[in-house]
Subunit: 190 residues, 2 copies
């Protein structure tokens, strides 16, 4: 997605440890006009899929999922990160490892909101090692719903998440895939 | 807001400990059509204010803030909850007590995204004791920005948050104020 790539080149910054900061437009401050274009692009790429729910994970995926959901006319459900076991009612649960925060947390979704009749599109802002997305995939499988695919805004193509997901036979649409980055350059996959 | 009140009566459930569950349409599964009506209502109530930024706090406020921001044509910024002190660059910080999780966490917002020229609308899904909203107010004051007001979807009018905010002279628009609730009844303020 050209508009997104241009924005990453203009406003993204690379920090030590392969960190790409896009907090001025995507995941701390959010440029809603850009995110609308992102939502339209996801709709265009998954237009033939009979999506009934968009599933994301808190926190930074929620806004993108909500804007995108307007183009699909479906509800958003978001999985919650928790370290408590004080769960209300029946929940799908999985575990996700966070490299950023160096811990494992439980991720939960109420069983009320996802079942075998659903067709799910996963949405998230970033894909790196793939742990968060694999957690969501786990939840979809547990629910018996059909996974139509995953839409990611920025994929770090030099980390293993994208390959892991694609090798599972899951349709993955990343709007910008970064193949390499350093302080003064950033290369997108064609 | 009549549509919202009807939806709360239809799909909300009261749990022990004065907990109102609206997770089927507001803060776990999100009915995007309803949230669009909520966004329009906030725009109508704050239409004369020169809003430049919508500020919310992760996680469940983000989707509502993003949908609402479309009607104001402004970016969303969301404060992050953190227990780490590994902060990148200059941050506004405050502390918020969570009664639900029984702990105090740091709330941060990058100084890059809010300053004296900004006019801020706060958006959140719930107002009960007011701790989260007071944290956001603290951040706005620290930034020197003008606080135009706060838009809340559901206020628990029998808890002290609403009075605390209004007594500070801050304009607070809650789309549904619940004055009392029990297992089999729920009373809205007129």
């Amino acid at each position: 997605m050209q508009l997104l790539k241009e924005r990453i080149l203009k406003d993204g910054t690379v920090k030590p440890g392969n960190v790409l900061k896009v907090d001025s437009f995507l995941n701390h401050q959010m440029d809603i006009s850009l995110i609308n274009e992102i939502g339209k692009e996801f709709k265009s790429r998954f237009s033939e899929c009979p999506i009934t729910k968009i599933l994301t994970i808190e926190a930074s995926g929620i806004g993108i999922a909500c804007i995108t959901a307007q183009y699909f006319n479906v509800p958003v459900i978001f999985a919650k990160k928790t370290q408590s076991l004080n769960l209300d009612g029946d929940m799908y649960t999985t575990k996700v490892q966070s490299f950023t925060h160096k811990k494992v947390y439980d991720v939960i979704l109420s069983k009320k909101f996802l079942g075998p009749d659903d067709h799910v599109l996963l949405i998230d802002d970033f894909l790196a090692n793939g742990c968060a997305l694999l957690g969501l995939i786990d939840i979809v499988r547990e629910s018996g719903a059909t996974l139509e695919g995953a839409g990611i805004v920025i994929e770090k193509g030099f980390q293993e998440g994208g390959d892991r997901i694609r090798n599972m036979g899951i349709r993955l649409e990343s709007l910008a895939i970064i193949d390499s980055m350093s302080d003064d350059s950033l290369t997108f996959r064609d």
